[in-house]
């Protein structure tokens, strides 16, 4: 029952975070919401007994891709600031 409740809460939060990521105005906030989305997806993968996918998602989804997005946004902002 408790396990089931956790699954339901996580799936609702996943949808909510995805909607927030698509609808927020600031790009940086979108990146942060996507990072939180992948972090919750890791928990969902562990519950669904797919630890291999969970490890990959934790490293790539919430670590590497987020920081690359942040750096790209920072450098794009720098170029915009110069003009």
């Amino acid at each position: 029952m408790l396990n089931n409740l956790v699954e339901i809460v996580i799936s609702i939060l996943l949808v909510v975070l995805a909607l927030l990521a698509t609808s927020s105005k600031s790009m940086m906030k979108t990146v942060m919401f996507l990072s939180a989305l992948s972090m919750l997806a890791v928990v969902a993968f562990v519950i669904m007994q797919a630890p291999d996918v969970a490890v990959t998602e934790a490293v790539i989804g919430s670590g590497l891709v987020t920081s690359l997005f942040v750096f790209t946004l920072l450098s794009a902002r720098k170029v915009v600031g110069k003009q």
């Binding site: 920081s67 690359l68 790209t72």
Partner: protein, 248 residues
Amino acid sequence: MKQILSLMLVTVLGLLIIVSLDGNPLYVDYGDAQAANRISTRFIRRDVNGGNQAVWFGVSEDLESGPANIVTAIVADYRSFDTLGEVTVLFVSSLGVALLLGTLTTKRMELEFHPNFMLRVGSRALFGIILMTGVYIILHGHLTPGGGFPGGTMIASSILLLYLSDDQFRTKVKSFKVLESIAGSLYVVLGLVGLFAFDYFLVNFLDNGVLGELFSAGIIPIVYVLIGLKVGSEISGIIDHFLTEEGA
């Protein structure tokens, strides 16, 4: 208007998925699945002598698929050629990044963000821990979840941490490129050894050993170490391209 339309489209698609899965004989109800009849169980239990007994961790010998992690058995043994294709996809993507962002003379990109002393020293301490976790995940890819791809990405993340915390830091990109090409070529050479000396391409020609030991599962740990080195150096190169710009 557009939002209502997209909501309706998503609802229709979701209903379509639910209707097609409901009552489908391939997807039995929760709790009714017969795990003993699945074809995967027969593959897990099969050994090289044609037997089909229960598998015990640390006891079973001469299994057809050596690794304790069955995902690894599929990724690096049964479908190793597919993994070679994945590595090639990653290589092509890093080549694309190099073509788009690479310049002759490079320097670190100057951002409006300068890390202080504490961040620099703290990240140096964290760097070792993340690097060792990545190496652990690569080396134990045939025993625990993980393997070459996540482990290599973790190594690249530790390099990224150094880039984050020090605005003068550069890795030795040239040696990373050499390492990447050597690891990728050795993977193909390993497959060719299987093709010419044994039966077919990328065959697991070493002894499988006892299930669950570090030195077991034949060539799978070697393949995973090569993949980990290749992925780690490749993504480190991509990160370096992202964080540098033209200039002396």
